[in-house]
Amino acid sequence: MAKNKQINKKNVHILARFRGWIQAAAALLTNMHLPNFLNGSLNRGKGKYACVPGLNCYSCPGAAGSCPIGAFQAVVGSSKFKFSYYVTGILILLGVLLGRFICGFLCPFGWFQELLHKIPSPKLSTQKLKPLRYLKYGILLVMVILLPMVVVNELGMGDPFFCKYLCPQGVLEGAIPLSITNEGIRTALGTLFSWKAFVLLAVILGSVFFYRPFCKWLCPLGAFYALLNRVSLFQMKVDKDKCVSCGACAKACKMDVDVTRQPNHAECIRCGMCMKSCPTHAICYQYGFGDLSKAKEISTEKKELKK
């Protein structure tokens, strides 16, 4: 039995095998300015011209770069611009190159929710809550794009509605560490902070019982990458010759995806749980242009025709 498990592990892609370590390293790299947590200051380095791939507040003392959602709203809500080509360009490039691999491997808040889900407790299925997945697209459209663009003051500046009213990362990574070391910030926290702390608490509690509730239902960054997941160069491939249709992969998937039906489903975060559960090793990662599984099928068909 133990030998079988070892064989299974060896057959799983190295990325999926070491996913937890990759997530930890990504969270550390995204927040690499650790001494800032002690002195309560923010990093002012040039790295903040660029956006990090995951949801990570730029008011976190350790943040190495800018949060893409915060950066988009900062540009859209400024008096100079009404749309951010810069951040949209970065997000399109990241989405096409990696898709929701970013959610599964590189997002610090996704990793945080996964760690909470490891706390022993009854684990609840989200199969029947699938319609809630569409909420995140509404949040992306309304709170991130439309409201900062339309609801403006006399100077033409709009609020970052998502960051202000919904994002729990600002409290977790910004308000909590900064208020510990800075009395001025501590005394300035009021009703808005209480609301956002409530949202964070709800996400924390939800994450213990559900797998990644914020990623599934609320995250606008996940929604953007989900839109590009089908055309991402990072793809899942199911070898139909090897697949025995046992359904083990669909059962193992905590994002409620049946990889055999739609290998590049919008909700697939490339975590590799399906690969680990597959008894015939029919599922693997592939990287490149085009639909690689179909490209292989066409080339084998051509070879057969030549024979």
Binding site: L42, Y49, S59, G70, Y85, Y86, L93, V96, G190
Partner: protein, 47 residues
């Protein structure tokens, strides 16, 4: 189908690069930077 998907991928990558360059040209990166190096009041819940 294979080539159609590849064409979409190439087009999106080119569009992403073009948008990125256009955004840098009209100094959006400066706006991002100046917001990111200061405390974001809305993000931390001050308002």
């Amino acid at each position: 189908m294979v080539f159609k998907k590849a064409a979409v991928q190439v087009l999106l990558l080119l569009a992403g690069i073009a948008m990125l360059i256009f955004g840098i040209w009209r100094e959006e990166a400066q706006t991002v930077f100046s917001k990111a190096i200061r405390l974001c009041m809305e993000c931390v819940g001050i308002g």
